[in-house]
Every structure is written in structure tokens, then in C-alpha cells.
Symmetry: C2
Subunit: 372 residues, 2 copies
């Protein structure tokens, strides 16, 4: 095994950290906790897989000797990030990959590259989407997924093509987020349930000024984007997501419509939310030209706050967990939000009063009202 290259430290440090976040790795298996480092004429490629997920990041480098090694991923990323110098030299010395800096030498053990399963190229391309719109939609929709690994079906985001629209949907059973945004299909129709945590990380890494390509086959889903002068990709095996369908949320009974400044309502939720019982439930009352939030807790006391609103239809009061209201309002901060309220234990929908190209809806299930 051989390899010798010089690279901009900050650039490779960012790439190595990005890869570690895309593929956190399984500490149990030392081979799968490694990163494949490949130096060739075009630069350096970092790749890793934990069998379920795979990631690959390219960066420019001055390659003195081409080669390919497998080294522990986290020590590589941590060392590059801790270095305080412009350029760094990495060279194979015996059974180590040496990272050389003036007065310092860091030597990572070479792992058995032949024992590594390799990082497959992504499945075929199926279309492209605008980076900024996709990142915003991913961040919002992924936040509605469950973080409870005991319910794997609810930890994913379903990504599905519907003609020239891409539909993203996630729910943890108490709240649901749905985004529809334009895309350019170029291959087979896509329909995949993708881990929300991975998508939330990818949303941070994609270049918002460029496109993101979607790749998919029956078993795998991948996203490909350009960043830092090279191509990055993240791939994952997919679950069956057909159980998860946004049309299952019936909105036939909407009898109260409210339009309100999202920031004003979020501020009131934050304050009145300090006065809630152990369930964190507060009451939303609909009045003339205003909504009123009420909370009460035996220890803290009681609170009420009114927010100016345009109200039409009935005066159905509802109760919600305050943290779900906070989540539901977040995507609409900076503008006005429209609430569609149904009576009884039926869902309330939040959407922008003036939607852009991305149609985003946040659905919250009500709770039994607090006892006074």
C-alpha cells in the first residue's frame, strides 16, 4: 500500500467531518469504522460505509503518489480539525498513514483494505431538485419524524414523485409534515422511506446555490451534490414507506380558519407554555379578531395571552401540546400562517398564508383539554 499527498487542511478537515456525520460508523467493527482514502490524478476521495449507509466526498489535492488506504475515520477527522496550519502532508510510512506538520507527526494505523466491503456507486439518477428549496423542506419534514428507534417506520421521511412535484412526508403519529416542491424527473418514478436523521444531516451539507440529484433503485436511495469543488454523495438502504400517506389526514370537517402572524403566536406559545401541566398542554380559544392561549399548572400558576388574528368560520377551541405548536409554527416564522381547525380529536393543519413554490403543511393532533 502506498499514498502520498498534500492538501489544504481546513478543506480536508471539513470533508472528513462531513463524512463522519453522514456515516457515523459502527464502533463494533473496526473495518467499518474506517475511511477509505483514495488519491489519484484528480485529488483525494474519502468514502465510508456501515453497510446500511454509505458516503463519499471528493476534494482537490496535490497527489505525489497515487494509492488507496483504510484508516480509522474519527481520529483522522479530529486530527485534521485540530491542526493549525494551511497545508498538510499525508504519506504512508510502513504500516501507518503519517499526517505530517512542522514539529509534529500523527500516525494512524492502516486497516485491512481488503476486508472492507467497498463503497458502491449510487443507484441510477431519477431526477434533480433545487438545493435551497430541498434543504428547507428536508429540515422541516425531518423534524416531524420520530426519534424513537423502537418505531423504525416513523423515523423515516417518505420521498415520492407525483408528476413534476416531489412529495416529502413524515410523522411521529402526533404531528405530520408534508412538503410538495417542483423537481425535474429524469428516470424512473421514486418512492422511498429514507431515515430522517440522515436527511437532516444532508440538508446541512448540500450547496443551496446548486442542484441536488436524486438516485434510486428498489433497495437504495442516494443524493448527490457538489460542494467544495468536488462531488459528494450519501446513500442508504430504504424501508417500505407505502403505509405513510399524507392523504390519510382527513380535512373534511374544518370549521374554523385562523390567519395569524407566526412570530407573534410562537412568542405567546413560548410564554403561556411555561404554565402547563405535566402533559405540556395548552388551550387555544378562537375569539373575534384574536386567538387566546391559556395554560394552567398547579405549581407555576396560570397564564393567558391574546394574539390578533383574522378568524372565519366557527369558534372551535382546541388543546395542543405546546411543543408541537412550536414545531408547527417554526417553518412559517417571518410570515403569516393559516390554521385550519377541526372539532373533536381531529387534526389541525398549519400552512403559509402566502405559499411559495414549495407547498408546506404541518399537521398537529389535538389533545384532551387540561382540567381546570
Amino acid at each position: 500500500m502506498d499514498l502520498d499527498l498534500t492538501v489544504t487542511t481546513a478543506d480536508l478537515a471539513a470533508a472528513a467531518s462531513a463524512l463522519v456525520r453522514l456515516v457515523p460508523g459502527k464502533l463494533i467493527d473496526p473495518v467499518l469504522s474506517g475511511v477509505l482514502l483514495t488519491a489519484d490524478g484528480d485529488g483525494v476521495t474519502l468514502a465510508a460505509t456501515d453497510r446500511e449507509r454509505a458516503g463519499r466526498v471528493e476534494r482537490a489535492a496535490v497527489v505525489h503518489t497515487e494509492g488507496r488506504v483504510l484508516v480509522p475515520a474519527k481520529p483522522l477527522a479530529d486530527t485534521l480539525r485540530a491542526l493549525e496550519l494551511e497545508q498538510v502532508r499525508m504519506v504512508v510510512e510502513g504500516s501507518k498513514l503519517a499526517i505530517r506538520a512542522p514539529g509534529a507527526r500523527f500516525a494512524l494505523p492502516l486497516l485491512d483494505v481488503d476486508a472492507h466491503p467497498g463503497v458502491a456507486p449510487p443507484p441510477p439518477a431519477v431526477g434533480t431538485v433545487d438545493g435551497a428549496a430541498f434543504a428547507t423542506a428536508l429540515t422541516t419534514v425531518a423534524s416531524a419524524a420520530s426519534r424513537d428507534d423502537a418505531l423504525p417506520m416513523f423515523t423515516g421521511v417518505r420521498i415520492r414523485a407525483e408528476g413534476d412535484r416531489l412529495v416529502l412526508v413524515a410523522t411521529d403519529r402526533y404531528q405530520m409534515a408534508v412538503a410538495r416542491l417542483p423537481w425535474q424527473p429524469t428516470g424512473l418514478p421514486v418512492d422511498a422511506l429514507v431515515p430522517a436523521a440522515l436527511l437532516a444531516e444532508i440538508a446541512k451539507q448540500v450547496d443551496p446555490t446548486g442542484p441536488v440529484a436524486l438516485h434510486a433503485d428498489r433497495d437504495r436511495f442516494a443524493l448527490v451534490w457538489r460542494r467544495g469543488g468536488g462531488t459528494s454523495h450519501a446513500a442508504t438502504s430504504v424501508l417500505d414507506g407505502s403505509f405513510l400517506h399524507e392523504s390519510k389526514v382527513a380535512l373534511s370537517d374544518v370549521d374554523t380558519r385562523v390567519e395569524v402572524d407566526a412570530d407573534a403566536m410562537a412568542g405567546a406559545v413560548r410564554r403561556v407554555g411555561l404554565y402547563t401541566d405535566a402533559r405540556g398542554v395548552l388551550l387555544l380559544e378562537v375569539g373575534d379578531g384574536e386567538i387566546r392561549l391559556r395554560g394552567a399548572d398547579q405549581r407555576a400558576g396560570e397564564a393567558e395571552e391574546s394574539v390578533k388574528a383574522d378568524v372565519s368560520g366557527g369558534r372551535t377551541p382546541q388543546a395542543y401540546q405546546s411543543r408541537f405548536l412550536t414545531d408547527a409554527l417554526r417553518p412559517f416564522l417571518g410570515g403569516r400562517v393559516r390554521l385550519e381547525i377541526q372539532p373533536g380529536m381531529r387534526a389541525t393543519t398549519f400552512r403559509a398564508a402566502e405559499p411559495g413554490e414549495t407547498d408546506l403543511r404541518y399537521v398537529v393532533m389535538p389533545m384532551l383539554p387540561p382540567k381546570h
Copy 2:
């Protein structure tokens, strides 16, 4: 019970939060989780105690009706912090203290003020010290104390007068910090073991441009300072700290002296510290005109880094936990630090190459060297 006042929201929010941090309160006892709010001609006073600790903060206010009530401390602090308005009105309404804002009302239950033990005035003054120097010394020395409540003796800072010097000392048995700084004694000599966590919080709250007064008697220790136009004080019961004496660290065997740039050494410790075994131990070798840090770990690999240094005396190598080196170097960042190394399992001392008025020493115990 009565009380009616108007106050600058941000100002009272800061005061209530400061008090909650000085006296975190015991949730078990609702009375002791309350804050005594006293409005009189001069303004408003917030006071709390958990029997061991006590705190008191004054602020200016427009008092409409003088009075004194007891309300839950944390909801008061959280509500004031969440309000987005300049001025706030607080008024007793029936069995509640109402916090009134346009369109909103927050009502805290009134607790039984007669069941509260009250907050005693601080013990007699014993001297004053410069706020900035004292805060820096407290922060550094408190960080050397143990956070393990199972060893209460090691969770304190001993504060002791030695003529015109105030001596602060703390240790968790593996590291020790000692600061000597000028003070103006005005009463009995002080010698108290004070909880380090409280002192670290006070160090954040004192005004660095003003003096801090020390108050003490046999059972209690208090600090008094001015902030935000009012006087604050924090008091605590004390432990016997006579077991804790900085002269117990023998420095008779120093045979190696090293002077080095603190930032350069801290950077090397941070990087080489990534390559340490489960104990986190790295080796310090003393060479000609340099020191060399070495670390090795079976998984991560091995590292060495040299830092230019002025060396005199022997060439005793030593091993340390990297996190203790990081702590020991922190107070000296931005300047040069002097290491005095003893052979064997005897302490190494860190002090500034050019000390200011405060003489600060950090003592670190070595570890058995890592096996290679």
C-alpha cells in the same frame, strides 16, 4: 398581602435569573423554591434561601403599593425572560401575583410568606477585594475543585487571609490551584471552605469594575457586590477547610524547569491528546530547547509533537492526563508559562513566567507513563 410595581423587564429578568442560579432551590420544599419579592420606596428586592445558601438582589422599580410576597422562583424568572416588552407591571390580585403585559396575564400563586425562614443579612464585613482580579482567581481555582458530591471536602475552595494577601486554594486530589491576591482587610481574619460551584457562579455575576466585599463569621461566608444599580449578596454555610493547605505540596525536588508559550503547548496537548489510551495519559519529554509530547493508542495510532521551550536543569520525563494539562494551561493562555517538574510521582507546578499582582499556581499530579 399587597404589592404593585412597574419595572424594566430585562433588568428584573436578569436579576431573577441571577438569583435562581445563586440559590438553585430545593424542589422538594415548595416554600424554599420560592422567591421573596419586597417592594418599598427604594425599589424591589428579590431574595431566596435553601437554608444552606442565601441570595439577595436589588433593582430599581416604580413602586405603586409597597408589599412583600412569596412566589415560585423559576416560573417568575422564566416568564420575565420570555416577555418581549420594555416595562412590566406586577400586582397582587387575590391569591395571585399577576404579571401584566398588553393582551397577556400571567398569574403566579402566592405561597405562605410566614412559612418562609427569611433571608438573613450577611455576617460582618471582613475586607474588600478588586472585582476583576477576584473573579479571575475564583474561576481558575474553582475549576480545580472536585464536582463529586460524595467527597464534599474536595468540592470547596478554601479562602484564607494571610496579612494583606487573600489565598484561594482548591484541589480534587489530582490537581490543585492556588491564587494569592491583594485585599484590604477591615475586620477579623477570614478562613472558610466555600462551595466551588457557588463561587464559580458569583465570579460570573460580580461587576469587574468595582470592589467585592467579603463577609464572614464562624458559620457563614458571604460576598457582597453592586450590579445593575443595586446591591447583590450571596451567603453560604461553610465547612472546616483546615485540612486543605497549599504548603502540603512539597516542591523540594524540582530538577527540571521549562518555560514555554502556553497557547503553543495547549494546542499540542489538544492534538496529541487525541492519541491517548483509556486513561487519557500522554508523555512529556524534555529535550534541548524543546519539549515533546507523545501519545499512543491501539485504535487511533500514535502522535508526537514538539514545542519550542527554554529548558534548565534535568531532563525528567513525566506523564499526565491530557485534560489536567489543558486545565493547568488555561489560566496562562496568552502568555508564557513556567513548569517545575519533580521526578517520580511528585507534583508538577505551572505558574506565569511574568506574574501580575495575583500569584497563581496550578499543580498537577503525574500518572504512571503509558505502556508502549
